[in-house]
Symmetry: C2
Subunit: 140 residues, 2 copies
Amino acid sequence: MAEAKCLYIIVIGCGRLGSFLANRLSNQGHSVVVIDINPNSFDALMADQFSGFKIEGDATELAVLSHAKMDKADVVIGATHDENVNIMAGQIAKNNFNVPKVLVRILDPNKESFCRQIGVEYICTTSLAAEKMITALNQK
Amino acid sequence: MAEAKCLYIIVIGCGRLGSFLANRLSNQGHSVVVIDINPNSFDALMADQFSGFKIEGDATELAVLSHAKMDKADVVIGATHDENVNIMAGQIAKNNFNVPKVLVRILDPNKESFCRQIGVEYICTTSLAAEKMITALNQK
């Protein structure tokens, strides 16, 4: 992500992770669209940071993703609390819309191999936390 | 944590993170006790890796922590799904039982400053995932 380039980024899920990323990336000057099934979740978007668009809808529905102009997206981030929704939306972004960069959050380390199989880039928060904790213990 | 030293480690919460750590740390030769309020969660402990003890109980109750011999613990890890339970148990471990190393998992980045204030070491999975995702985007 070159500093000077404004990317079109779709963030799916506006919980803690999604809203954090949407606020940060919009504040950095990128064009950000956030999708969430629950409109109340958009309250976490900060007016002084987020200047993008909000779409209320189910991100596993093609019509919702088309409405978000996923065919134009440089980046799609799957950040809902449901890792299956993230993986499914990530697969659609990759296979149906040819999005160049797709990143999804998963919780279950057992789903890592499945993500690798289908070629969806992932961040597993459980593995990340476990690694960090084990590193912290080793520093004891 | 020197390789040769066997530590007494209490893991609170036997969900994905807690069970992963309990299996790994027990397998590394440490003495591990896992506490969870729901005994079904112990199913995630693998017989070929975990050789520690399981305690069913509420980890915010002093009696449960005493039963786990928290006064003897080298390390306490708060890994339940409820960050408030983790922080509370972490505070008790530190203040009531003088545990030398206490690590808790939190989800809400807004709780980081509170943890710093009370001197409880934390891993915030939301911040970790957000950092990792932003780094991955920068590598695009």
